[in-house]
């Protein structure tokens, strides 16, 4: 056992969280496809249910395969621990339901994934929690939106479709000054490109479906806690828990308090649990994360440069390009690359931007038309003709989606083939 050496990121991708067991010696992580666990004794079972012992009770709450994934991603993000969930949406829901109480408010960047926006705006209303969206481009907007009821600040490392990069230092300073935890969705960067906890974030979330899984095979999410936020005066974490005989999670579990509460209350009660086989697929994904991400970003930069120089292209929002307003910020927070998901717009053909985007989808051969991202395969979507096709041009504008906007998730294919595909599709629609 070595804790003396600080092992590197790639070593931890392969080893963190899994010690080969003494009875089977299995080198791969075993899939514990079980719902329940045999208790040692009635007393032991009682101590598990009272949280006096750590251990497995029921897979809705914890599972040995999932625990490997959790410890591994916690190690990679530099957190004190992690909690895997059924999806990225579930990771947000569990985080917010653990931190917030009815009547609380939180402030979120408006540069968010659409599903997150909808969850915050509409579903949280039913929980009597109010979100204030702010334009993240100016730190003053955050400052103005904070009220005495604000309990969380929320943003994404890379915002979409603007390709904006989160102002970690500015917003985390504000969070600290106000005693509010900063929660960051790091899905588009992955811990290989950016580790928000190192820049002042308190809690990190992922849709693990994306780059962590990497192969588009599982729906999954995860919550990682830095363990550094002082919850001693934070009502939801430090007030007595009635189901657990007035247990104060922060006093009893210290820097594990938030995660223990998230697992033993919120996950237990919402049931938004990941399955063991999905956890196994996430572990497989993590083992090659750095190798894939290097290729994702080199391909993405090549595609972005190709588009920027193409006469049919109107604009490209990629923070890895020098003309992006956050190019310098990306260099600082994402030194290995600005991710591989970005949006661009074609100049309208026949004055019809919506139809131009739609036509491009029809002509692309190699890009898969898919509502996902972070796959090894390159993906494309045109919101105005698919996910948002029911919206009028005016409504699209309000949702901050230009009718010509096309989102790419650049995969690991031979780069010349990706450029060929774009060129042949551009040619076909211009005829």
């Amino acid at each position: 056992m070595s804790e003396k050496r600080k092992f590197g990121f790639e070593t931890r991708m392969l080893h963190a969280g899994h010690i080969p067991d003494s009875y089977s010696g299995s080198r791969a992580v075993p899939i514990y496809q079980t719902a329940g666990y045999v208790f040692d004794s009635p007393e032991y079972a009682a101590s598990l249910f009272e949280l006096k012992q750590y251990g497995n009770i029921y897979t809705r709450i914890s599972n040995p395969t999932t625990a490997v994934f959790e410890e591994r991603i916690a190690s990679l993000e530099g957190g004190t621990g992690a909690l895997a969930t059924a999806s990225g949406q579930a990771a947000q829901l569990i985080t917010m339901m653990t931190l917030l109480q009815p009547g609380d408010e939180f402030v979120a960047s408006s540069h968010l994934y659409g599903g997150t926006y909808t969850q915050f705006e509409h579903t949280f209303k039913k929980l009597s929690v109010k979100v204030h969206f702010v334009d993240p481009m100016d730190i003053k907007n955050w400052e103005k939106a904070i009220t005495p009821k604000t309990r969380v600040l929320y943003g994404e490392t890379i915002g979409n479709p603007q390709g904006s990069v989160f102002d970690f230092e500015g917003v985390s300073e504000l969070a600290k000054a106000n005693g509010i935890p900063l929660v960051i969705d790091n899905t588009l960067a992955s811990p290989y490109l950016c580790r928000p906890l190192e820049w002042g974030a308190d809690i990190v979330l992922h849709s693990a479906t994306k780059f962590i899984n990497g192969h588009g095979t599982s729906i999954a999410g995860v919550i990682i806690d830095s363990g550094k936020f002082d919850f001693s005066n934070y009502p939801s974490i430090s007030s007595p828990s009635i189901p657990y005989h007035n247990l104060n999670f922060f006093e009893t579990f210290g820097h594990y308090g938030f995660l223990m509460k998230a697992r033993c209350e919120t996950l237990r009660d919402t049931g938004a649990t990941i399955g063991p086989f999905d956890s196994f697929l996430l572990i497989q994904g993590l083992e090659t994360l750095s190798v894939r991400m290097d290729r994702h970003v080199s391909n993405a930069l090549a595609v972005a440069n190709f588009l920027k120089n193409h006469p049919m292209v109107d604009w490209v929002n990629y923070a890895g390009l020098p003309n992006h307003p956050h190019f310098d910020r990306a260099k600082k927070y994402l030194p290995k690359g600005a991710g591989s998901v970005f949006a661009f717009g074609l100049k309208a053909i026949n004055n019809n931007p919506r139809e131009t985007g739609k036509r491009l989808l029809e002509e692309l051969e190699l890009f898969s038309h898919v509502a996902n991202l972070g796959d090894c395969k390159s993906l494309v979507i045109h919101p105005a003709s698919t996910t948002h096709q029911q919206l009028s041009d005016e409504e699209l504008k309000r949702a901050n989606i230009k009718p010509e906007l096309i989102r790419l998730s650049i995969g690991l294919e031979t780069i010349d083939d990706l450029l060929w595909d774009l060129e042949q599709a551009f040619h076909a629609i211009s005829r």
Binding site: M1, S2, E3, K4, F7, T11, R12, H15, A16, G17, I19, P20, D21, S22, G25, E43, Y44, S47, E50, L51, K52, Q53, Y54, G55, N56, S62, P64, T66, A67, E70, E71, A74, S75, G79, T80, G81, A82, L83, A84, G227, K228, P240, Y244, H245, N246, L247, N248, E251, T252, G254, H255, Y256, L259, M260, R263
Partner: protein, 167 residues
């Protein structure tokens, strides 16, 4: 790793070899400031250590019995040898507890997570005791025997060797 100690102090007072030595080599743990209230952190730690088959001895002048074990008013009253003195007291009360621990020839003193008294720690070191400070005995036991891993926590233990978790 979550602590207010400096890197040098961590090496001295949170040394993993010494922590493992205490957890492996000790059977009798006197818990100073153990509460009989089920929801208190000390009660969690005490019941955990008991369920992990350590002999726990509550030290609390206000109680007769806690967690089914006879309670003593102070360390000096304990009639059997004590391996570890686990301290749940305010930092400014730790010096007196450490002096008592030295007097009864305990092998180690352990100040719980968030409890830091550098003078008391140095005094214990000078008298040859092993010292752990600003760590939780339950968390550290869980880190090395695998229990903490089950809860999704980052144990920071990395090895490709086939091992049964320690203890």
């Amino acid at each position: 790793m979550n602590t207010r100690l400096s890197a040098d102090e961590r090496n001295k007072f949170q040394n993993s070899d010494l922590i493992r030595k205490i957890l492996n080599g000790s059977r009798t743990i006197a818990i100073v400031g153990l509460s009989d209230k089920k929801e208190r952190a000390s009660n969690f730690v005490g019941s955990y250590l008991k369920s992990e088959r350590y002999t726990i001895i509550p030290v609390n002048p206000l109680k007769q019995e806690i967690l089914g074990e006879k309670c003593y008013p102070d360390l000096a009253s304990i009639p059997v040898p004590v391996d570890v003195v686990d301290i749940f007291r305010r930092p400014d009360e730790c010096m007196n507890v450490v002096k008592e621990a030295i007097a009864i020839k305990a092998k180690a003193v352990w100040m719980q997570l968030g409890i830091i008294n550098r003078d008391a720690a140095e005094l214990a070191l000078q008298h040859g005791l092993i010292v752990v400070m600003d760590r939780c005995m339950k968390m550290e036991h869980g880190r090395y025997n695998g229990n903490l891993h089950w809860a999704g926590m980052n144990t920071e233990i990395i090895t490709a060797k086939k091992v049964s978790r320690f203890i």
